[in-house]
Amino acid sequence: MAHAVDTHEHHYHPPGLQHQFEDMKQQEESVSIGMWVFLVQEIMFFGGLFTVYLVFRSRFPMAFAAGSNHLDAFWGGLNTLVLIVSSLTMALTVYYAQKGNRNMQVILIILTMFFGTVFLGVKAIEYTDKYNHGTVPVDGWNKRIPEGGTQHSSPAEHSTLTLPFETKASAADAEPHESEAVHPNPQGRFRIEDKDLELVKQAQEGNYLTGSEKIGYFSNGQGSLPNGQIDEAKFRDKVRIFFWIYFVMTGLHALHMIIGLGVMLWLLWRAWLGSYTAEYFSPVETAGLYWHFVDIVWIFLFPLLYLLGRHFLHGGGH
């Protein structure tokens, strides 16, 4: 026969125990497994993008290397460090929540949010940089630079305006971190540079182009010829694919970062109220799991997007 446990007996309700659970242990276990299951689906979500990256990179490695060299590995590396610091502060937040130390929790959550915001700020700088240099993959979505060499630029970009008699080289000197000349781009198109084509020529000479590249960078069977003519428009399309992947992957990552900041804001408010103690801190732990996951995605994005083609540059640097 069935025996039963009376669910109506009065017992001590720990703070935060939800009605569907029998006790805190069941609740904590459930929340922990729940967040991990959620992270598994996030792994598969980003995984689809990594798959697209994998397939296209395998087919067009030179285009990817060329695209990657346009990205500033310094900012990317800095962002990686920023996220790692934020992961540390997040882990310490959980540590202090366990100890019931409200003040340290609040400080560390604020620090975590600070570093998260710095990350987003750097991303904004990077995206603006892409816009200015014509590497946003959609034609018309780049900065329109009228013909004639002069350009209307914001003060943040250049220390001086380029004047008509300045050569392209000296104009380039005014820019702190890019050595490319400022070509006109009246329709805001996506564009690449000669140094990108250099990589293809190198690969052509060294005979390590893939089969897809021989078709994809050349027209009319030129690819199988030792000195075949590179079709710049076709090559540009493949570099464009790299930038599309770059923007979608980092954009989706940044979106997750923004959501993470929202979660942190809520956590900050609850921590301020002193809700998290040695007895009840699993929301902090759970939020931490999400934050660390976002960090891990970036740990992979950084080398795969930023550091691809650096070894082709004979000594690196920009």
Binding site: H11, Y12, K25, E28, S32, I33, W36, V37, L39, V40, I43, M44, G47, F50, T51, L54, V55, S58, R59, A73, G77, T80, L81, I84, V85, S87, L88, A91, L92, V94, Y95, Q98, K99, N207, Y208, L209, T210, G211, S212, K214, A278, E279, G288, L289, H292, D295, I296, I299, F300, F302, P303, L304, L307, L308, H311, F312, L313, H314, G315, G316
Partner: protein, 115 residues
């Protein structure tokens, strides 16, 4: 109910003994070193070993960093086998997706990867 409290705080205590602030700082240090390492190794051409060596090294470093974050920052080192299984299955499924899609591209007779 009282027993449950005791079990809970016992688990907490075990938790705290495993890694304290110095421990977290060590892991942080490892992650920073890994980042700097990957940045500089990327500038050295390793393709004379085999094509794609650079990528392999970068991925190995990334995997190591991820492992430290997962085990120590995400506390998986001290979690139940179910959590281990959950975390591993996510990566295993990702591996299935990569492997089964690439086995198509790698076995095409012309065009994709063959020279």
């Amino acid at each position: 109910m009282a027993e449950q409290h005791n079990t809970h705080s016992k688990a907490q205590e075990e938790h705290e003994e495993h890694i304290g602030i110095p421990g977290y700082l060590v892991i942080f240090g490892i992650l920073v070193v890994g980042t700097i390492l990957t940045y500089f190794v990327a500038t050295i051409d390793l393709d004379w070993i085999f094509p794609g060596a650079n990528t392999l090294v970068a991925l190995l470093i990334a995997f190591t960093k991820m492992t430290f974050v997962v085990l120590y920052f995400m506390h998986v080192r001290w979690q139940s086998r179910l959590i281990w299984l959950t975390a591993l299955s996510g990566f295993f499924w990702l591996a299935i997706m990569f492997a089964f899609i690439m086995q198509d591209y790698l076995t095409r007779t012309s065009g994709t990867f063959t020279n």
